[in-house]
């Protein structure tokens, strides 16, 4: 048997798996939020604040924000990799995407933690 020469950046499987794990985290969070909305969590401003300030929900929201950031990073990076051929522009878009996602994650976490 001929030895296979493995090439590439070696992050493919990790990102493939991360995309799916973060998706499942967000799936669970979405079902929790949908159930809460049906259960009256948005019936009043006080109810909504109380719900989002609850310790467990706060942690779940934190996990959701981190999952979303990682998930979006992989997805958007793949879009740049598929359609932008000039390396300089592509790398610039990668960096801007990362900065935007990290900035938004910080903003969102700060909103939740201020409650």
């Amino acid at each position: 048997m001929k030895a296979r020469i493995v090439v590439g950046a070696h992050y493919g499987l990790r990102d493939w798996l991360a995309q799916r794990v973060t998706a499942v985290v967000m799936l669970v969070y979405t079902l929790v939020i949908m159930a809460a909305i049906m259960g009256g969590a948005v019936s009043s401003h006080a109810a909504w604040r109380g719900f989002m300030a609850h310790g467990l929900i706060r942690i779940l929201t934190f996990l959701f924000i981190l999952s979303l950031s990682y998930h979006a990073w992989i997805g958007i990076r793949d879009i740049w990799m598929d359609y932008i051929k000039p390396t300089g522009i592509r790398i610039t878009m990668h960096v801007l995407t990362l900065l935007a996602l990290i900035g938004c994650a910080g903003w969102a976490i700060q909103i939740i933690w201020r409650l």
Partner: protein, 131 residues
């Protein structure tokens, strides 16, 4: 080299190629994901205003979500989220080798389109206070 029994097409006749339904769901998954990414700042802003306690944020929340254009964008994002969600569940099942044959995968692609549009309608009705 053996003769080809059928001449191969030299060019892709793009106007004659129709994307099959699963392909349509797939590209919408990408489009909805990109749209959601671009609108993350708007969504965080709405979240921030919805949780604010000062009268300014309450007034801003009402003004922002009451704007017909913003409302349209939010319902559009609602569809994007639900489509991305349903198509994502379908992809996870395909990863587990569930429904990978031609007919089941077509049926599930149709289901993704129908269910995500239906849930968008229900969410819109909920937030307009119908139930």
């Amino acid at each position: 080299m053996p003769e080809l029994t059928k001449p191969r097409p030299k060019f892709l006749a793009l106007h004659e190629i129709r994307l099959p339904l699963p392909g349509f769901v797939s590209i919408l998954h990408r489009v909805s994901g990109a749209g959601l990414f671009l609108m993350i700042p708007l969504l965080i802003w709405v979240l921030e205003l919805s949780l604010g306690t000062d009268p300014g944020s309450t007034a801003n929340f009402k003004a922002l979500t009451g704007n017909p254009l913003v409302k349209l964008i939010l319902f559009g994002l609602c569809w994007a989220y639900l489509h991305h969600f349903c198509a994502g569940v379908r992809f996870l099942l395909l990863d587990l080798h569930i429904g990978i044959d031609k007919q089941p995968s077509r049926t599930s692609a149709t289901a993704v389109l129908v269910v995500s549009l239906g849930l968008t309608g229900l969410t819109a009705l909920k937030f307009m206070g119908v139930f």
